[in-house]
């Protein structure tokens, strides 16, 4: 057992990455994730790693493209408007099949939005978020401990499938402090990076990091290959939590990250009023845990309600997973407003018809 230390979410991200053998961080200041960069600026020089504050998020993600292409574990972090700027680079990284970790500490949007917690980048994160047919694994921790665990997992998944991975928190997760333990992890068996473009050395053929396929036949083959890879990720890398779903529920809440914690309080409050609620908590947002709905669809009298800090984004995936078998409702706050458990309980009562 390791020792528990009290850490701010953003700093824990940095420490977790370093412990996952991340050797390079390329960032740009933006609230509410700037402490990640500050932590890396302090620590990277001490471990012989690289820290660069780039001139823009655009440059930062392209530095990641360069470092990742040489086979070095590397990452960047940002918050919503900055992730939009990284979108071009993420598409190239997905196309060129490079492993890296991108952290998004989501704030309210659209536009410059606000600096308060939000979950309104769900579509952007889970539907590719940039041009072309691609997806990337997206991890959504609900605590700082889980953030630490998932950062390390994300680096492994990235290397395993040569794909960018996103870890998506919100301003709440980034800014709050919680005790964390940096656990000894069983390392995955990872493929050798024979594709790395890091100097010919004794190799006969040069390696090229590239996403350009001028012949349509070639690009289609590349896309088919990517889709096959995504199918394997969907099969093997889904993560979710089922909470209070062991017996029949009046309604099942669906929530991730900060909102899932609030929902757990709502569940307690509802119980006192004789309403039995369950919770499906996606931990991977892509691949979306369809399986969690297969397991629970017959356990809920009134279907599901997607609880979000956005205006109805994840609810679309919930509807696809439920596929008309049960009703799917939505409750959300946005713009940096965090719902409180009573708000959610009132929404639940509107659906299930008050006290049973």
């Amino acid at each position: 057992m390791g020792q528990k230390v009290l850490m701010k979410g953003n700093e824990a991200i940095g420490e977790a990455a370093i412990r996952a053998n991340c050797k390079a961080f390329f960032g740009y200041p933006i609230t509410p994730q700037t402490e990640v960069a500050a932590y890396m600026a302090k620590k990277m020089p001490k471990i012989g790693g690289t820290f660069i504050q780039a001139e823009s998020e655009v440059s930062a993600i392209n530095m990641v493209y360069g470092a990742a292409g040489t086979g070095v574990r590397c990452m960047t972090s940002s918050s919503s408007p900055g992730i939009s700027l990284k979108a071009e680079g993420i598409s190239y990284i997905a196309g060129a099949e490079l492993p890296c970790v991108i952290v998004n500490i989501v704030r309210g949007g659209p536009g410059l939005g606000s600096i308060q917690p939000a979950q309104s980048d769900y579509f952007q994160a889970t539907k590719g978020g940039a041009h072309g047919d691609f997806n990337m694994p997206v991890f959504a921790p609900a605590s700082i401990q889980e953030m630490v665990d998932l950062i390390q997992e994300a680096f492994d998944v990235a290397d395993m499938y040569t794909t960018p991975c996103m870890v998506m928190g919100d301003g709440m997760i980034g800014q709050m402090m919680e005790p964390v333990e940096f656990k000894e992890r069983v390392a995955r068996e990872l493929p050798e990076k024979t594709w790395a473009s890091n100097g010919l050395g004794d190799r006969k053929e040069h390696n090229v990091i590239n996403s350009l396929y001028l012949q349509p036949e070639d690009l289609e083959q590349h896309n088919i290959h990517l889709q096959e890879k995504y199918a394997v990720i969907k099969k093997n890398e889904v993560k979710y939590e089922l909470f209070n779903c062991e017996s029949e529920c009046d309604l099942i809440l669906v929530a991730y990250g900060t909102t899932s914690r609030i929902c757990k309080n709502t569940i307690k409050m509802a119980e006192a009023e004789g309403i039995k609620l369950g919770l499906v908590r996606p931990i991977t947002l892509w691949p979306f845990p369809v399986e969690a709905f297969e397991k629970t669809v017959d356990m809920t009298k009134n279907g599901y309600v997607s609880v979000e800090m956005s205006c109805g984004q994840m609810v679309e995936d919930v509807r696809l997973a439920v596929n008309g078998r049960k009703p799917v409702d939505f409750y959300g706050r946005s713009g940096g407003m965090v719902p409180d458990p009573t708000d959610i309980l009132n929404a639940v009562k509107a659906i299930v018809g008050g006290v049973k």
Binding site: A24, I52, V58, S59, N62, Y65, S197, N198, V208, I209
Partner: protein, 249 residues
């Protein structure tokens, strides 16, 4: 018999896609010969841009990257900082480096990244079919300046080498041309020095190479060479813009 000429090892023995008369081939050859002469093929990593030389990764024998439009200096930075014992160069055109990639080139130079940038300036966007570039000369007709570039509405051309030479992080900036044999030899010398600077850990070097685009200029290759001499060189004077490599630090 004594060998008087052999293939450049740092270039792959493949046909290129460049238009007849284009000088990219000459510039590739110079970069390849420099890699051969410095014996750095096995440890060099090149970054190709978006534009006519997007496929440069198919022509250079060293390890290569293809970068997003304008981002090659950022990609090069990521490569070099995590692999400081390797040699990194970017190969970029004027649309790539002087328009969409201005932030990346300026800040790579300002940080004094120990990389080498080869900047090919032909006053036009070639790959997309001859549109106005930031380097397009006043009065020059292109697809998107059909009445000639009017500086009142389209602004003035950017003299990139002069601009970069003002940055303390840049150690060596020279503008060369490939219009004549003597100039080609001077260009090679400059490119070699730019790579040598990197091997010596001296910081950021950029060589701007004045180049021709017969296809999109609507001129024959020989007319293009004359146009380069008559129009480009007066606006973009050749020579060393900055050389702090001899300074005692």
């Amino acid at each position: 018999m004594a060998m008087v000429y052999e293939n450049t090892k740092s270039l792959l023995d493949v046909p290129t896609h460049y238009c007849p008369g284009c000088t990219h081939g000459t510039i590739h050859k110079l970069v390849g010969e420099v890699m051969d002469e410095l014996g750095i093929l096995d440890k060099t990593i090149g970054v190709a841009p978006v534009g006519c030389s997007v496929l440069a990764y198919n022509y250079f024998a060293c390890d290569m990257f293809q970068a997003a439009h304008g981002r090659a200096p950022a990609v090069g930075t990521g490569i070099k900082r995590t692999n400081p014992d390797k040699v990194v160069f970017t190969y970029q055109g004027d649309g790539d480096l002087a328009a969409i990639g201005t932030a990346e080139i300026v800040h790579a130079a300002a940080r004094g990244e120990n990389i080498t940038s080869i900047f090919v300036n032909n006053c036009i966007y070639g790959m997309t079919g001859g549109q106005m570039a930031p380097t397009t000369l006043p009065g020059q007709i292109t697809e998107t300046s059909p009445y000639g570039r009017n500086v009142k509405t389209e602004g003035h051309p950017i003299r990139v080498s002069e601009m970069i030479s003002t940055l303390d992080g840049a150690c060596y900036v020279e503008r060369v041309s490939v219009d004549t044999v003597p100039n080609i030899l001077k260009a090679k010398k400059a490119i070699k020095k730019a790579f040598q600077n990197q091997l010596d850990g001296k910081g950021f070097s950029m060589i701007e190479v004045l180049s021709i685009c017969p296809t999109n200029w609507g001129l024959t290759p020989s007319e293009s060479m004359q146009w380069l001499k008559d129009k480009m060189i007066p606006y973009y004077p050749l020579g060393i813009k900055k050389d702090s490599t001899g300074e005692v630090k």
